[in-house]
């Protein structure tokens, strides 16, 4: 009698699970292959939100406006020479902005940075003549953290663009220009302004602090280092912990910049040598890797991140001057082009009736022209997670051998879950101790090398202590079988349960992390999954030592590889990690000490577990 389809499916599933270890390894390799092939699935970027009406309007920012901007820049540059110090220059420039806005009939306000002495931000509001005041857009410029000439060019051009756009008859949303004091970092300055904007505390300096409804989009602008020059525009998208703005805000901006009358290249890279028009496979893969690395580090790349933290779509962009570009605009031409870029960008956003919601927030950009959506990039991670799941299922259901059914009847596995969870908890405690030590050492203002060495020392002590505490040796329950009512219960050795719990912990954390920071989750899964899948005890002492040696070599290898990728010395790695965590509250440090370190400890524990091949009959 032939089996029914249901039976066939069941048998296939059972067979897959029974051979879970082997299939898991195959799936892991397949996941890596799919990841390497993912760039082939990349699609051309496009503007999904039709309401932008990109290309349907013309720019009115002309040579006269460029000349005005040039005058403003000149005035601001003089302030630099007259002032005695950098902080003073920034303050005086901000005061100049405040007065300039007031003289031109715009509302202007000053607000303190949180408890930061005499630092303050300035913002102006251009009320749309026929607007309803419910929505607004923000133009942000930063002073005090970069080249003084570039800042003068940024503010001068921004003021002229603000005047032009603020008085435009088409303006339907209010326009705000926020001039941030970036002496303590552009993100902190912007965050302080946003906190004042969204809280009821009075952060003003006596002149009031007026708002302009719900901020719908924000753009942070910087001119090139030389000031009046531009050949391309670099866009920064990264927010905290790999959070990105809606893809449409980037595609809209890219579309405006790359078409007439702006007609410049867009770049996502800090390295000016990278050519975004190189669409070769290798180039796309490198671009993908760099994009994922930026996301995985979790470090925000510009002041736009503060807006993203307040659920506002925002990007930062700066004019750059590159040798590889055929045409470098300079002087008045640069001001006109950049002014047109600002005008067309705000006009496109002015046309929007709703928040950006057509396109997605989960994407990987392979340069400015290609992207992978979540549907494409999630596949390799899903395959890796399934490989973990399969091994966990196999070991839970069948233990170490294929003994699911015997001629005598059904066989069930029994595991010591309590011991396994206890070990994982202990490993997590040690991970927390090492992580806290790392941060504490950094907070004591030690240098990065000392922090790294100190953390390694603490980690080593934690490792030894963990192994000592979990040294159960002969006390570990051996494999035994019990028969109850035709059901054979096979009690598995302790390490089986420990391995399953270890895999489950990695599976759970990485599944959750995938939706918060895909890049970090993918890299962590790729690094830890082989150790989790392959670690197993051996009766052969030589094999066991080899396994322990390989596991011991993993952390330094990762440190070396990641340091090379980050471009920092390996002996400063934990110092930098702690610094980034304290500064940006990134996920990287919790992942290293809350997931990677405990998982490796458990892998060590599994690898050195005693194996008893003899089965006792109860």
């Amino acid at each position: 009698m032939s089996a029914s389809p249901r039976e066939k499916i069941k048998r296939l599933a059972v067979a897959c699970v029974r051979r879970g270890s082997f299939i898991s390894l195959c799936l892991y390799v397949l996941g890596l292959v799919v990841a390497s092939l993912a760039p082939s699935l990349a699609r051309d970027v496009y503007v999904d939100e039709n309401a932008f009406l990109v290309g349907s309007t013309h720019a009115t920012f002309d040579d006269l406006d460029g000349a005005r901007a040039d005058d403003y820049v000149e005035t601001l540059t003089k302030i630099t020479f007259d002032a005695r110090s950098r902080a003073r220059t920034t303050r005086e420039r901000l005061e100049w902005v405040l007065n300039a806005l007031d003289e031109r009939g715009f509302e202007s306000y000053k607000s303190w940075l949180d408890g930061a002495g005499d630092l303050f931000n300035v913002h102006g509001v251009a009320r749309a003549a026929r607007g309803n005041g419910r929505e607004s857009m923000a133009l942000v410029t930063v002073l005090g953290d970069g080249d003084a000439d570039a800042e003068a060019a940024t503010v001068g051009l921004a003021l002229r663009a603000f005047e032009k756009i603020g008085r435009a008859p088409w303006l339907a949303k209010d326009l705000m220009w926020v001039c941030v004091d970036g002496s303590r970092g552009e993100i902190d300055g912007t965050m302080a302004w946003l906190k004042t904007y969204y809280s009821s505390s009075v952060g003003d300096l006596g002149g009031g602090f007026e708002r302009a409804g719900a901020i719908q989009q924000a753009f942070v602008f910087r001119a090139a280092n030389r000031g009046a020059a531009a050949s391309a525009v670099r866009v920064k998208l990264e927010g905290w912990n790999g959070a990105y703005p809606n893809q449409d805000i980037f595609t809209m901006f890219r579309s405006i910049v790359e078409t007439y009358p702006v007609s410049m290249r867009v770049s996502l890279e800090s390295d000016v040598e990278v050519r975004e028009d190189d669409l070769s496979r290798w180039s796309l893969m490198k671009s993908t890797a760099r994009f994922m690395w930026r996301a995985a580090t979790g470090i925000p790349s510009g002041a736009h991140a503060a807006f993203k933290a307040h659920s506002i779509d925002a990007i930062s962009f700066e004019a750059i001057e590159r040798q590889q570009d055929a045409y470098v605009r300079s002087g008045l031409r640069a001001y006109v082009t950049l002014g047109q870029m600002l005008e067309l960008t705000f006009r496109a956003c002015n046309n929007l009736l709703e928040l950006l919601h057509h396109s997605c927030f989960y994407y990987i950009l392979l340069g400015p022209n290609k992207f992978l959506g979540i549907a494409e990039y999630i596949a390799p991670q899903a395959i890796l997670l399934v490989s973990l799941l399969l091994t966990a299922l196999k070991m839970t259901t069948f233990g170490m051998e294929d003994t699911s059914s015997t001629s005598d009847g059904e066989t069930r596995m029994s595991h010591d879950w309590f011991a396994a969870i206890s070990k994982l908890s202990l490993a997590l405690v040690f991970g927390a101790i090492v992580g806290t030590s790392c941060v504490s050492l950094h907070l004591r203002e030690l240098n990065h090398v000392t922090v790294t060495l100190g953390t390694v020392a603490v980690a080593f002590i934690a490792f030894i202590t963990f192994l000592r505490l979990t040294l159960d040796g002969e006390a570990s329950p051996v494999r035994s079988t019990t028969k109850v009512c035709d059901v054979t219960i096979v009690r598995q050795e302790q390490w089986v349960g420990v391995k399953v719990i270890n895999i489950a912990w990695l599976l759970f954390t990485m599944s959750a992390c995938t939706f918060f920071n895909f890049a970090l989750a993918f890299l962590t899964t790729v690094a830890l999954a082989p150790a989790c899948l392959l670690c197993a005890p051996s009766g052969d002492a030589a094999k066991r030592n080899r396994a322990v040696a390989v596991l011991g070599a993993l952390p330094p290898t990762w440190m070396f590889v990641l340091s090379r990728f980050a471009g920092s010395p390996v002996y400063e790695s934990f110092g930098l990690l702690a610094e980034h965590h304290v500064r940006w509250k990134t996920f990287a440090l919790p992942v290293v000490f809350g997931i990677a370190f405990p998982v490796l400890l458990i892998c060590f524990d599994v690898a050195r577990s005693p194996v008893k091949s003899k089965t006792k009959k109860a």
Binding site: G105, A214, E354, H357
Partner: protein, 500 residues
């Protein structure tokens, strides 16, 4: 002398011209129609307006449309109340039992007449019944309540209503000469009217004790004085003498220059020069601002700032100001009254500064909340800040409007400042008399009504494409279940032998 109250049906059309700061000019058109209710045929009053008042059995009915903002800090106090963005309806009834039915009838009829979505105002979630608001207050704590016993007030607003030519055209249609003659001819070209920086127009219908029904149609617009629209409108007004509305008992132009108002009778071809007017700036009694705090999807806060103008607050002894706040909020803004905090010039004070408070809590999908506060801004205090926290309600998918990701417009808050009348209170001086001028004079001593800026609240919005995902998954599951069931029901044991 202009006849103020006609013994028979009358129609008077007037326009007030007032030059403001920022090279702007305010034009206030008023068309007043009076007719006795016993008159069988309406000679001048539009039948739909007369009918709606009669059918709804209301004492007064008001419908207003607003577009653009009145910039009080730059333009000062408006000549007439500048209405908020969107639509607002208000009605008063003598008897409670008439109010429910009458409100529904009135909103339906007015919505149809003026092409507005007023049917949405008939629902219980939109309408509020003010207890303190829209009533006089002589300073006694309970006076407003006593006054409110006399009449039942119903109020509702549609902040998201897109006011356009579709509303203006029927508004003009209610005039005896429509937009073909008289002052209304200046409003004929819609794009000129809608190019205004601020636009308020509406109608107030009322009955007086003598059996007369009165309809006041008012339109206020603020135009740049260098604009083509302004030149065109002023040109049309100056040519009215040659194209008067035959139904009009009078067509007047009032030009305000400081505290003086010069009146010109257009029927007698009196010339006036709008360009010769000086800039007027009447500082409002108070400035009011409203803004939202918080950015998450769960919680938020609403802050209302009441600020005394700088000149007055710098004076040695600024007088106390009695004020009243009327703030309705939709049910999905769940206010926590225990979080109400009051600050006077940055210092937290107890609720004793409040003279009286009336709060109707919201009920999910049944009733919106209503907060009414009666307070006194103490002498020499320059700023009062009210702060309240709220939870954001979760809406069902079908409760979102088509533009769900835009956010939700919160209804405007109304603020009445009851001024203390001094001997030197500035009252407009004029040698003429008319209903409109009487109203202007009265507004100098009556409570100053301000509407606060509108707000957009962002609520957690679902991904509506998920509906299709759910439909696809549910369909797949159901089809598998159905096919399995069919197979189980139709399978026969004997078939297995054949299959083998």
């Amino acid at each position: 002398m202009i006849p103020i109250v006609a013994a028979r049906a009358s129609f008077v059309e007037e326009v007030l011209i007032e030059r403001l700061r920022d090279d702007a000019v305010a034009l206030v058109f008023t068309f007043t129609t009076t007719e006795h209710e016993l008159e069988r045929h309406s000679a001048v009053m539009a039948k739909p307006l007369r009918a709606v008042l009669a059918k709804s059995r209301a004492e007064t009915l008001e419908l207003w449309f607003g577009r653009g903002r009145w910039n009080a800090r730059r333009w000062g106090a408006p000549p007439v109340v500048a209405k908020p963005i969107g639509a607002e309806a208000l009605g008063t009834w003598r008897a409670d039992e008439d109010a429910e039915r009458g409100w529904r009838d009135a909103t339906t009829a007015l919505g149809g007449t003026f092409c507005a979505s007023l049917s949405a105002l008939g629902t219980s979630t939109a309408v509020t019944s003010p207890v303190l608001g829209f009533n006089a207050w002589d300073g006694e704590a309970s006076s407003a309540r006593r006054a409110s016993d006399a009449a039942t007030v119903k109020h509702a607003s549609l902040p998201q209503e897109a006011v356009c030519v579709e509303n203006l055209a029927p508004w003009l249609k209610q005039l005896p000469c429509r937009d073909r003659a008289g002052l209304a001819k200046a409003l004929k070209t819609a794009h000129e009217v809608f190019s205004a920086r601020h636009l308020t127009f509406g109608v107030r219908l009322s009955k007086d004790g003598d059996g007369y029904t009165r309809s006041e149609q008012t339109l206020m617009m603020v135009l740049p004085d260098a604009s083509e629209s302004y030149a065109e409108i002023i040109g049309t007004i100056q040519r009215v003498a040659s194209d008067v509305c035959v139904a009009a008992d009078g067509s007047y132009v009032h030009a305000r220059d400081g505290d003086d108002i010069a009146t010109f009778n257009l029927s007698s071809s009196a010339a006036f020069d709008a360009d010769a007017l000086g800039v007027n700036h009447r500082t409002p009694t108070l400035y009011v601002e409203r803004f939202l705090t918080g950015t998450g999807n769960e919680f938020g806060g609403i802050v209302i700032d009441i600020e005394r103008p700088a000149l007055e607050s710098s004076a040695n002894s600024s007088p106390p100001i009695r004020a009243r706040l009327f703030q309705p909020l939709p049910w999905f803004v769940k206010l926590y009254m225990h979080t109400l905090s009051i600050e006077l010039d940055g210092v937290a004070v107890s609720r004793e500064v409040l003279d009286e408070m009336h709060f109707v809590p919201a009920e999910d999908r049944v009733r919106s909340s209503l907060l009414e506060l009666q307070m006194v801004l103490p002498a020499n205090a320059s700023m009062l800040r009210l702060r309240l926290d709220f939870d954001k309600g979760f809406l069902r998918a079908q409760e979102f409007p088509p533009d769900a990701n835009r956010g939700f417009d919160l209804p405007p808050a109304r603020f009445d400042a009851f001024r203390v009348i001094h001997a030197d209170t500035r009252v407009p001086r004029t040698q003429q008399a008319s209903a409109f001028l009487d109203k202007l004079r009265a507004s100098s001593v009556a409570p100053e009504t301000l509407y606060m800026n509108s707000l957009l609240l962002l609520l957690p919005t679902p991904d509506f494409s998920m509906t299709f995902n759910v439909a696809a998954m549910t369909g797949s599951v159901l089809s598998i279940l159905f096919l399995s069931l069919m197979r189980a029901m139709t399978a026969r044991e004997s078939w297995k032998d054949y299959r083998r």
